[in-house]
């Protein structure tokens, strides 16, 4: 004779429901969403989830980082190279707060990451229980959406909603906070993916009138310029952008996060925009009569002084996030939609053209920049090694086909400027936040996401030491990332500003560093220190050929400055080649 409960369970099973714990339900939700990799760190409140994770090891690979911030950055980089949302676990209290920098970083760069934090049992919330923190309140300004789950039966719907929100529209991080009791108690589980929310509409109907007006403007322009941002990569519109640019003959300049959306060696590539971008791309922004901004948000590092930005140009802004339109720059035609959808409609209705004279102007500035900056930076004949020289060498030896991950500061700007990107999503960096310490954990995430690609990370000696403990993660999982420290014993970018704007008063920017090679060896990572020009080539070859991880500590010029530079408060056309 079956009990009433057993009969009920049988009926639920027939209807497709399983009677399982909240923890198990969460893992099943992730599997349903196509997740196979999780970055995280356990602790008291999240133990039921980690315990269940042992039963799902064949479906879900968990990478234990050495700090929750590392897990957050790794999950973000994983998403940036795969296009899938990154997944990150942390416990309550300090586990959750340690994520905050990583969450904010993903938020500013519009990367979909689903953060799962644990919370103390629901009855204790609000009592200042051990390791209780209001992570919903703390993460509110830096998540696209967040939600606390206190009942196991709410887990499937909330997770479904989280994935839908993170991936759609302008992507971004979401955070789900699950109480310990909701992880332990059981529910009748069935997963239904979410594709509709009344209050949230990521699929905007194409406003074809605006696109047709844009086409007329484009057809009549004499000095048009495309500004391509991260949105091109996020909407996977690289091919559409290329087709559009090639048909119209319009040169393409890229934001920092837009790099790799358009091939660096393309005849229409005009270079990088912004503070340390290319000479021609910046100066000619102010000469253009039409700017077509695609999936970018006119960040202050791109525009310089807004009062003197692109005053000769009409502006067409193609942008999925309506709140970004007219936020910093007043535009003439707003096209609030997905870049790919818009370009698909726009390309067939624009005229085939070419702008040889206009493009020659870019080449003239390119030549000046090459002579004054690039050549001395990449091909010095004497003196210490230079950062640009190292990046350039890596670019040549990897044929521009590696995934480049950077930290923040000079190393980042050199990696952005001197690597020739040829494959979409091959540049991983911290743009909006400028988070030092991003590089090493992000390289781990990128390599886990793309195991078949060469992943090289450029770090400064400062940023490396902010998340140096992640060498332990590399050791534990034998992750074959190639680490290059551009070592100048300085916080280089801050020192450059002190040099230029603070009378060379080097306040707290000089570093006394440990022996990085010895540290790497302590983590069983082969390493080598390079300080001579004649060693550089062979050392990089050796690093790239190594089967496992490898670290190169490259001693570079102590007081090198990144140029060109738009000084703060200056206009893009006032970009300087020297100091």
């Amino acid at each position: 004779m079956k009990t009433e409960k057993e009969i009920k369970n049988t009926i639920m099973k027939v209807n497709g429901y399983e009677h399982i714990s909240g923890a198990e339900a969460l893992l099943k939700c992730l599997i349903e969403e196509g997740v196979d990799t999780i970055f995280g760190y356990p602790g008291g409140a999240i133990m039921p989830i980690y315990d269940k994770l042992m039963d799902y090891e064949s479906n879900l690979l968990h990478i234990l980082t050495r700090h929750e911030q590392g897990a957050a950055h790794a999950a973000q980089a994983y998403s940036m190279v795969t296009g899938k949302p990154g997944i990150c676990f942390a416990t309550s209290g300090p586990g959750a707060t340690n994520l905050v920098t990583g969450i904010a970083n993903a938020f500013l760069d519009s990367v979909p990451v689903v953060f799962i934090t644990a919370q103390v049992i629901s009855g204790s919330i609000g009592t200042d229980a051990f390791q209780e923190t209001d992570i919903i309140g703390v993460s509110m300004p830096v998540t696209k959406w967040n939600c606390q789950v206190k009942r196991p039966q709410d887990i499937p719907d909330t997770i479904a909603k989280a994935f839908y929100i993170a991936k759609s529209g302008r992507p971004g991080p979401v955070l789900i906070d699950i109480t310990k009791d909701a992880q332990i108690e059981k529910l009748d589980f069935k997963y239904i993916k979410c594709d509709y929310l009344r209050s949230y509409n990521p699929n905007i109907i194409l406003h074809t009138k605006a696109i047709e007006s844009a086409a007329i403007m484009i057809n009549h322009a004499e000095r048009p310029l495309i500004l391509a941002g991260h949105g091109v990569l996020l909407s996977r519109a690289e091919n559409e952008l290329k087709t559009f640019a090639e048909k119209t003959g319009i040169p393409v300049a890229s934001t920092l996060l837009g790099l790799s959306a358009f091939p660096s060696d393309h005849r229409l590539f005009a270079g990088m925009l912004g503070m340390h971008g290319n000479y021609g791309a910046n100066i000619l922004t102010n000469e253009a009569d039409l700017i077509i901004a695609i999936g970018m948000r006119f960040d202050d590092r791109v525009t310089g002084n807004l009062k003197k930005y692109a005053k000769n140009a009409a502006i067409i802004h193609i942008e999925i996030d309506e709140a970004e339109i007219n936020k910093n720059v007043q535009v003439d035609i707003e096209i609030n939609n997905d870049a790919k959808e818009v370009l698909r409609y726009l390309t067939p209705i624009v005229k085939e053209k070419s702008y040889e004279k206009w493009i020659r102007e870019f080449r003239i500035y390119d030549k000046t920049e090459y002579e004054k900056v690039i050549k001395p930076e990449t091909k010095p004949e004497s003196g210490n090694l230079k950062m640009g020289e190292v990046v350039n060498k890596v670019s040549e030896l990897t044929k521009g086909e590696a995934i480049i991950v950077t930290d923040v500061g000079q190393n980042q700007m050199y990696a952005a400027r001197y690597y020739k990107y040829s494959i979409p999503n091959s540049f991983v960096t911290s743009g909006g936040m400028g988070t030092m310490g991003f590089g090493l954990p992000a390289a781990i995430g990128a390599k886990i996401g793309c195991p078949d690609k060469q992943v090289v990370t450029f770090l400064g000696d400062g940023g490396f030491q902010m998340t140096i403990q992640e060498l332990g993660t590399i050791l534990q999982y034998k992750i074959p990332v190639k680490i290059i420290i551009l070592d100048n014993n300085f916080l280089g970018m801050v020192r450059q500003w002190q040099d230029m704007f603070f009378d060379k008063r080097y306040a707290s920017t000089a570093l006394v560093n440990p022996d990085f090679v010895a540290i790497a060896k302590g983590f069983s990572i082969p390493a080598k220190k390079v300080s001579k020009r004649e060693e550089l080539h062979d050392s990089i070859i050796e690093m790239l050929g190594a089967k496992g991880p490898y670290l190169l500590d490259i001693v570079v010029e102590k007081e090198g400055n990144v140029f060109p530079m738009i000084e703060p408060g200056s206009s893009v056309s006032e970009i300087r080649l020297t100091y």
Binding site: G34, G83, K84, P85, P112, I136, G137, M140, P141, K144, W145, N146, I165, K167, S168, G169, P171, Y196, L197, R198, S199, Y200, N201, P202, N203, I204, I205, L206, L234, S235, R236, D321, E322, A323, I325, N326, K327, D338, K340, E341
Partner: protein, 186 residues
């Protein structure tokens, strides 16, 4: 130039939505003059009415940032001439101070106020009107000693004919539209 705007936000009934909205105003250094939360005419939809002083450029920017929030359905911003609005105020005045002559009767009539309660110790007056009208009454009563004064936030309805329901219908149609090759990521 700064002017007064009334923001009407229609939101899902979710915990924390008010926090998300005030964060947007705080980041832009906009002070909230008054705030009222209530149900709306549509079941399950909440209405927040916020009065702020800012420029017309800024109100557009913050409205777009508010509408971007996942749990916000629709945001309207209105200058004062586009809406009908009222506030309500309660005054507690010592009975003694008003006893001499016909003052109370005069005040109540002149200001279209209402007497809610009279006791040997105090009188409670209610006044509905706009901010200036309420402030006028307050200044007239002040010489007699106002023991307590409380004013509500603004409640407002729009003069426009199109109602929330038709916006919701349009949004729903847009929401069900899927481009041919759905999905941006994954």
């Amino acid at each position: 130039m700064k002017q007064e705007f009334t923001i009407s936000l229609f939101t899902e009934d979710h915990i924390g939505i008010l926090g998300q909205i005030t964060i947007i105003l705080t980041r832009r250094q906009i002070n909230i003059d008054s705030l009222t939360a209530s149900e709306s005419a549509v079941k399950g939809v909440h209405l927040l009415t916020i009065v702020v002083k800012t420029t017309s450029e800024m109100i557009q920017k913050v409205a777009r940032q508010m509408e971007k929030l996942v749990d916000v359905l629709k945001v309207f911003t209105h200058s004062s001439d586009q809406i009908i609005y009222q506030e309500i105020a309660l005054f507690k005045i010592s009975t003694n101070s008003l006893m001499s002559g016909n003052i109370i009767d005069h005040v109540v009539r002149a200001h279209h106020a209402r007497i809610l309660e009279v006791s040997p110790e105090y009188i409670i007056l209610e006044k509905t009107g706009n901010k200036t009208e309420i402030t006028d009454l307050l200044s007239q009563l002040e010489p007699y000693g106002v023991l307590q004064f409380a004013r509500s936030g603004r409640v407002a309805v729009t003069k426009q004919v199109k109602e929330l329901n038709s916006y919701l219908k349009e949004m729903d149609e847009a929401n069900r539209y899927k481009p041919e090759e759905m999905q941006v990521v994954n």
